[in-house]
Amino acid sequence: MAQLRIGELNFYYGFTQILKGIDFSLEEGKIISIVGPSGGGKTTLLKLCAGLLDVVEGEIDNSFSSSAFAFQDPRLLPWKTSLENIMMPLHVKIKERELKEKATALALKFGLEKSDLLKHPKDLSGGMRQRVSFARALIGEPKLLFLDEPFSALDIGLKKELQSFVLEACEKQKMSVLFITHDLMEAIKLSDTILLLKSDPGEIVARYAIETSQKERDDAFVFEQTKGFLEDALIREIFEIKVNA
């Protein structure tokens, strides 16, 4: 079975240690979220896992056959239309006509209008751009998806919609997700395992497994769990929560 295994990973920028002794593994069809305060090295960890940064100390062993990355900002190519942007990852891999159909179907499913497909990114709203970026990440049906706070700039409706697409892909295609967030509720809603990363240097200080299946997690469940998390002394310390909610 394919898995992503990280062992004894350290990372430095110059003399500053960013990550210290990171250790976890992600199995097929599972969702792991990494939660922690901003500037704690979460993005660095994700980039290391995705092979966008070179590993200096430690081990990253990725046996998934394909992977994709959705960034916090949409990062669309400004000179390409929405449709061409969605098609980009598979451009040389499958036939143009087939790809166009596939990309159009996916875009429509993600709530884009037919007329949006021929627009350039600058003519789209922020939410639309993020949909395009998401469609681009999922078009290749990756076995492993990296998400770098992609929901953070979205309104609640769109957030829920895109989250349900991710869950659906996990179930249908046995996709695994490694995703980072600073939103506890989001993490509780989506993940099988939550890793708590403290900053300076980034170190995993706690692991929480949520056994209830994602389908059964309704709003009440998420609120209840979040409340529990927020009362956790360790979490309060890591997020520097000083006042009583």
């Binding site: 980039k47 092979g51 966008l52 992977s67 960034f71 900002d73 190519l77 400004p78 390409k80 040389v92």
Partner: protein
């Protein structure tokens, strides 16, 4: 091919959008006529006289030869500076040290007036083609070089990282990321270099050559033949108009359509 067809298809619309420019040209001609009526024909011959003189020029085979020579020299000089400037600029942009080192050299090249280059070129190469072409190259090279340098320095790390995260091959990266980005910097610099080349070729010919439009201009000056001089100037401008509005602008509008 599809792209070329689109350029041709959109061409009539592009021409139709030119009415505003035509109106301003006619306004200019009217002011010119006013100048003629005020100052007389030695200072400023009427547009009609100039166009008659231009008609004579255009039917004169020896002028065709001059025009051909000038265009040839200009194009050779422009092509050399385009190739050299683009290539060296991209390389210099790729290496931080090279781009830092090349800055003062570019400042020096831009700072030396073309007229000084003509004098030097005349000493080095004597009178003839080589002097003219050299001056054109040295004057328009820095423009292209700076454009290419800035283009390759400003490729967005974010987009590059995005391409890498999808494991995109080098060839597709060139087609989808590097080329469109670089082109938006290179194309305007090519256009200004072309305008520069055309001006410099005339000036260099006027001073250092016995044939070409520049040389004809020198003859017109020595005969105090103002209509001929203005007719030559009109031809020079006509060529520039043709290249800029009929050849370059439609290409630019197609390629840069994502901007507006």
């Amino acid at each position: 091919m599809k792209f070329l067809l689109k350029v041709i298809k959109d061409f009539p619309w592009f021409l139709w959008s030119g009415w505003g420019s035509i109106a301003s040209i006619f306004l200019f001609l009217a002011l010119w006529e006013l100048g003629f009526q005020t100052y007389g024909e030695l200072i400023l011959p009427s547009p009609k006289m100039v166009f008659e003189s231009m008609g004579m020029l255009l039917s004169d085979p020896s002028f065709h030869m001059d025009l051909y020579l000038t265009v040839k020299r200009g194009l050779i000089g422009f092509s050399v500076s385009l190739l050299l400037g683009t290539l060296l600029g991209l390389i210099a942009g790729y290496f931080v040290t090279a781009s830092v080192m090349s800055r003062p050299i570019v400042t020096i090249l831009v700072g030396i007036p073309p007229i000084a280059w003509i004098v030097l070129a005349m000493i080095w190469f004597g009178l003839g083609d080589m002097t003219v072409i050299f001056t054109v190259v040295i004057a328009s090279f820095p423009i292209v070089f700076v454009g290419a340098l800035q283009g390759s320095r400003t490729i967005e790390g974010d987009l590059k990282e995005m391409m890498e995260s999808f494991h995109i091959g080098f060839l597709q990266k060139v087609m989808d990321l590097y080329f469109p980005h670089l082109f938006s910097y290179l194309f305007p610099s090519w256009v200004s270099a072309l305008g520069m080349s055309w001006k410099i070729v005339i000036m260099a010919e006027l001073l250092s050559s016995s044939d070409g439009i520049g040389a004809s201009l020198a003859v017109a000056r020595s005969h105090l033949d103002t209509p001929l001089a203005l007719a030559l100037v009109s031809v020079i401008i006509g060529v520039l108009f043709f290249v800029e509005y009929i050849v370059l602008e439609p290409i630019k509008q197609e390629v840069e359509s994502w901007r507006n």
